[in-house]
């Protein structure tokens, strides 16, 4: 089979990108070949993500990876016109399969688990905290107070689920009928409020925690 895909090449090679987009856009034998090769790339990416997330190489894992590759292919083809050549086409393509596979694995892992969106009672666990924070007990109380007084009820639920109980963000989005973007924005706003309160009350150094 004549490959339409790139071999090892510099990060940005216009010919390589033109080949993929053109091959996928124009009906004919080349398009059919490109679709087969692209699906194989997406399947490789989906399998890698499934493995990363601890799903063993079983029939279920393989089926999930195949389904993720199928769905990623459809999504990618619908967005082909948005490819701007800022990366290799293959790297651009991988992310669609990785996202599909990751979301599917998280959904599967949490399908039988309840998510409790209730109140928060933080208690220190006895381990030492980061060096720039005050005593862990005081900090726990300050954070508890900040969560109670500084956050909206919606922000509190999001913070508890995502940051304390470690519910995956896309799973929580599915349960709440929202999307990952909206939840991350709520989280961002909540963290800003918590940081501001801790700063005002002397528990957070202005210089600490900067990216």
């Amino acid at each position: 089979m004549t490959t339409v895909g790139p071999g090892p090449a510099p990060v940005t090679t216009p010919v390589e990108q033109t080949d993929w987009v053109a091959a996928l856009s124009i009906p004919g034998p080349l398009q059919e070949r490109a679709l087969v090769e692209l699906h194989a790339l997406l399947l490789r990416a989906a399998r890698r993500q499934v493995q990363r997330m601890g799903l063993r190489a079983t029939h279920v894992a393989e089926e999930l990876a195949n389904q993720a590759a199928d769905e990623a292919l459809m999504t990618l083809l619908g967005k082909l016109h948005t490819f701007e050549g800022r990366s290799r086409f293959t790297t651009w393509a991988y992310k669609f399969a990785v996202l599909q596979a990751a979301t599917a694995v998280r959904t599967l892992a949490w399908q039988d688990r309840e998510i409790h969106l209730d109140g928060l009672d933080l208690v220190p666990d006895g381990r030492p905290g980061p060096g720039h924070y005050a005593e862990a007990v005081d900090l726990a109380q300050a954070l508890r107070a900040a969560v109670d007084t500084e956050l909206t009820s919606h922000q509190r639920r999001i913070v508890i689920a995502l940051l304390v109980d470690e519910v995956p963000i896309d799973v929580l989005a599915q349960r709440l009928g929202t999307n990952r973007n909206a939840l991350y924005k709520a989280l961002h706003d909540a963290r800003k409020r918590l940081r501001a309160h801790l700063r005002e009350t002397g528990f957070l150094d202005d210089q600490a925690g900067k990216p």
């Binding site: 990060v11 990363r52 290799r88 293959t90 991988y94 109140g119 963000i169 961002h188 963290r191 918590l194």
Partner: protein, 86 residues
């Protein structure tokens, strides 16, 4: 509404208070992740600070970015660099 005691360890403390400025959405992270990992593979140390901040604060995006990074590294024939979100 039930109140449950949840231990506050260093990990939760860090997650609660991590600085997520400059703001970047999950959608924008997805939009740029391919370019970002290739810049890292090309040797850039901090090519997109907002991406670095987002990936430190969003485990789902980080988990996915790591796979894209590894696949792109294999294609480019280079080693996977150590990155901050790992």
């Amino acid at each position: 509404m039930n109140m449950q005691d949840r231990p506050l360890g260093p990990d939760i403390l860090a997650r609660l208070t991590v600085n997520t400025e400059p703001w970047l959405s999950c959608d924008d992270c997805f939009r740029h992740v391919d370019e970002y990992v290739e810049r890292l593979l090309a040797g850039a140390t901090d090519p997109m600070p907002a991406m670095r901040v987002h990936l430190r604060a969003c485990p789902a995006c980080a988990e996915e970015a790591q796979t894209v990074l590894e696949l792109a590294a294999e294609d480019a024939g280079v080693a996977v660099p150590a990155v901050e979100w790992q």
